[in-house]
């Protein structure tokens, strides 16, 4: 497994944000992580990315523990957060170059050129983040994540701020990376996107995993059989909103 999570727990000042979360993502698999606001999705992703230390539990990227062997684990990981945090004084090109240096990317020029084209950033290479729209900044964050050969990709709301063309391109990008062998965990509120691109779905509520499986598997679950067959109906039933 490229990504393994075992009994992850994260507590903030007595509040349990994530509790006993376990799952795995195999290479080439796209797993959707969905849940209502405050379900613990972003906290989970931040813990997986090494930003937050787990209160308990274990996270492994290609067999490397994110706490005990952080450098090797992070080297294999790319996290694309929902809020595009960029350095205000570095251009798009300089961001990519900095990442390439830190992750040791050999064929940087070729990869960077291809990525800039793929993500429609052509002509914006010399622009600072302050000169870009939110959608463009989101693309830069994604480009920084994709410029190296990460085996595990974590996307947190990757389509926020993108126009319809950008959304379509991004969908193709995510699917393309999975076909190339990357393990992908995708958190989104856009259930139709999750249903369309994900091979499996994890539903979280109140910090815990409440469902895990393909849409067909979830639809056939005894307690969800009457909910309906699409992901939205399943989601509403699982989270108690139907």
């Amino acid at each position: 497994m490229a990504l393994t999570v075992e009994n992850l727990r994260r507590v903030y000042d007595g509040f349990v944000a994530v509790d006993d979360l376990s799952f795995a993502v195999a290479p080439g698999e796209i797993v959707g992580l969905i849940g209502p606001n405050g379900a613990g999705k972003t906290t989970s992703l931040r813990a997986l990315a090494g930003i937050l230390r787990p209160t308990a539990g274990r996270i492994q990227i290609d067999g490397h523990d994110i706490v005990a062997d952080a450098i090797e684990a992070k080297r294999r990981l790319a996290f694309m957060p929902d809020e595009p945090h960029l350095f205000e004084y570095l251009t798009v090109e300089e961001h990519l170059r900095l990442v390439a240096r830190l992750y040791t990317v050999d064929d940087f020029d070729v990869r960077a050129r291809a990525l800039v084209e793929e993500l429609e950033l052509t002509g914006k290479e010399k622009a600072l983040p302050g000169e870009l729209s939110r959608g463009m900044r989101q693309k830069v964050v994604i480009a920084c994540g994709l410029v190296r050969n990460a085996t595990t990709l974590l996307f947190d709301e990757p389509l926020t701020g993108l126009d319809p063309i950008g959304i379509r391109r991004m969908r193709e990008t995510i699917v393309g990376r999975a076909r190339a062998g990357a393990a992908i965990l995708l958190s989104s509120h856009l259930l139709h996107l999750v249903e369309e691109v994900c091979s499996r779905v994890i539903i979280m509520a109140a910090g815990r995993k409440v469902a895990d499986g393909t849409c067909a598997e979830l639809a056939s679950r005894a307690d969800l059989a009457t909910a309906g067959s699409n992901l939205e109906q399943i989601f509403m039933r699982v989270t108690g909103h139907d």
Partner: protein, 577 residues
């Protein structure tokens, strides 16, 4: 709308106070508040007490001892009113920023589409601005050397003055933007013509008065000013300004009440004029809001241009140079903005230092003064530079979420982050020392050239030690107490924030001094061992050893700080209000 404005003002104030009080439950805010309150007390109240004592001493001085001061006080209202007239006239040519037209984004989105008139919006902004104006008035009263009820009266007088000025500047802005057609534009600019004429009348009267009674000294000149303001046509044109100035100088409660009444009449007329000029409100508010947005952008650093820096980053190698490059690019792109701020601070301190040096050591000549300036710059750079140049982990706490995902060892992050600012300050310090050494023959002619060069070389060798050790401590403090370190360009407000900054500054300087001790001991030992043969030149190897020891400490310290960085939780980093 008035009740809605009052609701916004009171709710915002109440919630701000509640939030500030609630956070005092946390020890860091409580301690900060105690220290901040003590600082404010000793800075204002204790000093004000000293000033009152000095004023009392002056009152007890023999009559006629300070005739100029007495004349100055007597002519106060006249002088201030003439100053106001000048200001009011200049405001038409160089408009001042009143702030009343700068609506926040929330106000623009919620109030502009609401069914309220432009005048109501202006009154709303006037009400919202009262908090800041009242605070400013209270500070003026506290800092003044008067006491008791006089202080209260001064506060009211200052408040009236500030409010009237703000309303007036807004009215000027609205008038300047009013009327596209010739006739409307002429009407809007009529007051400017009136102020020019008033200025002419007062200036003519002044010149005539001084010509009729030749000025021998300052009291004579001030007496002429008083006569002009109180008699003839000039007293009529100056009346609104005198009405605003008089409450500041009213000797009795009765005269104060009368003067305040007159000042309120002026304020009322100014508000009415501002409200009548509301046709240019939208355009003026849009311009002001755009300016506000630009300022906010500049504070965030997003208005910087992507100009070439001359720094390049290779694609292979250790991570530290990557941080060095990143911070270098940031500094060079920001230089236009921050260099001015830092340069001004340096100039201020250096100017004071040069003044002290010139008087204390009787330094003469441009070269001597230049030497003193260079020495002051070097000292300032070594001691206060790392407090000011924050292009290290402190400014990057805002990007902690990104930094934490990078496969870089914590020690390398810390070293890389402080490398650029520390080397930049070291270079500035070296340049200043080199300049001081070059100019030192003029400043210190009695000191032998060899001794002067020895001191300069030692200082140059010690410079990186001073700078790097402070950066180590600053970054350690940022990791240990991230909530006390402002993020990026943010400046937390409140008494507790003032206290936190003071505690941090003191702690950092103390710890840096402690970390210098091993280096000082090692260097001292070398000097003692060598001085018998080398004399004063032994200071140079001593400084070299001291710096080597301190830099080793910095290297080891950056590794020891690793676990702190690893454990640093992004939720511990304070979000400023």
């Amino acid at each position: 709308m008035i009740s809605a404005s009052l609701y916004i003002v009171t709710c915002s104030a109440k919630n701000r106070v509640r939030r500030r009080v609630a956070r005092l439950r946390e020890p860091r805010y409580l301690v900060g508040a105690i220290v901040g309150a003590a600082y404010i007390y000793f800075s204002f109240f204790a000093r004000a007490r000293g000033q009152r004592a000095a004023a009392a001493r002056r009152r007890n001085a023999p009559p006629g001892a300070d005739a100029a001061s007495a004349a100055l006080v007597a002519a106060g209202p006249a002088l201030v009113s003439m100053g106001f007239l000048m200001l009011a006239t200049i405001a038409w040519v160089l408009p001042f920023d009143s702030g009343l037209l700068e609506f926040s984004e929330a106000e623009t989105n919620l109030l502009f589409p609401a069914p309220v008139t432009r005048r109501q919006l202006l009154l709303h902004r006037l009400m919202r601005s009262q908090g800041g104006i009242l605070f400013g008035s209270i500070i003026v009263a506290i800092a003044s050397p008067v006491g008791g009820w006089m202080r209260f009266r001064l506060s009211i007088a200052t408040w009236l003055l500030f409010v009237t000025m703000r309303v007036y500047f807004t009215a000027v802005t609205l008038s300047r933007n009013a009327g596209r057609t010739g006739a409307a534009r002429t009407v809007a600019w009529l007051p400017f013509g009136a102020f020019i004429a008033a200025t002419g009348v007062v200036m003519t009267a002044l010149v005539r008065a001084w010509r009729m009674m030749p000025v021998q000294n300052l009291p004579d000149a001030l007496s002429g000013v008083g006569d002009v303001a109180l008699h003839g046509v000039s007293s009529v044109v100056l009346w609104p300004f005198l009405a605003l100035a008089r409450p500041l100088f009213a000797p009795t409660l009765t005269s104060f009440a009368v003067d305040v009444g007159a000042a309120f009449v002026v304020l009322g007329i100014t508000i009415a004029w501002m409200l009548r000029r509301d046709e240019a409100f939208q355009e003026s508010a849009a311009v002001a809001s755009a300016r506000r947005a630009e300022k906010a952008q500049a504070r965030r650093g997003t208005s910087v241009r992507a100009r070439a820096t001359g720094l390049s980053l290779s694609l292979t190698g250790r991570p530290e140079p990557a941080f060095f490059w990143k911070n270098g690019v940031q500094t060079l792109r920001l230089a236009g903005i921050s260099a001015i701020r830092i340069g001004m601070a340096v100039l201020g301190v250096c100017g004071a230092a040069v003044s002290v040096a010139v008087n204390t050591f009787h330094l003469r000549g441009a070269a001597a003064a230049g030497c003193a300036v260079a020495m002051a710059v070097a000292t300032f750079t070594a001691i206060l530079g790392p407090q000011i140049v924050r292009t290290d982990l402190r400014s990057d706490l805002v990007h902690l979420e990104l930094l934490k995902t990078w496969p870089v060892r914590a020690g390398a992050v810390i070293r890389g982050e402080m490398a650029w600012p520390a080397l930049m300050l070291t270079a500035i310090g070296w340049m200043a020392i080199a300049l001081a050494a070059a100019l030192s023959p003029a400043a210190f002619p009695r000191i032998a050239p060899a001794t002067r060069m020895t001191i300069a070389a030692s200082m140059a060798l010690l410079m990186p030690a001073f700078v790097f050790v402070q950066y180590l401590v600053q970054n350690a403090a940022a990791l240990a107490f991230p909530a006390w370190v402002p993020q990026g360009n943010q400046r937390p407000r409140g008494v507790d924030a003032i206290g936190q900054r003071l505690i941090m500054l003191t702690g950092v300087l103390l710890l840096a001094a402690v970390l210098m001790i091993p280096g000082a001991v090692g260097g001292g030992a070398i000097f003692l061992a060598l001085s018998r043969w080398t004399g004063v030149v032994g200071v140079v190897p001593a400084a070299l050893v001291c710096t080597a020891i301190v830099l080793l400490e910095v290297l080891v310290g950056s590794e020891l700080l690793g676990p702190l960085y690893e454990r640093l939780d992004i939720l511990a980093v304070e979000r400023t209000e």
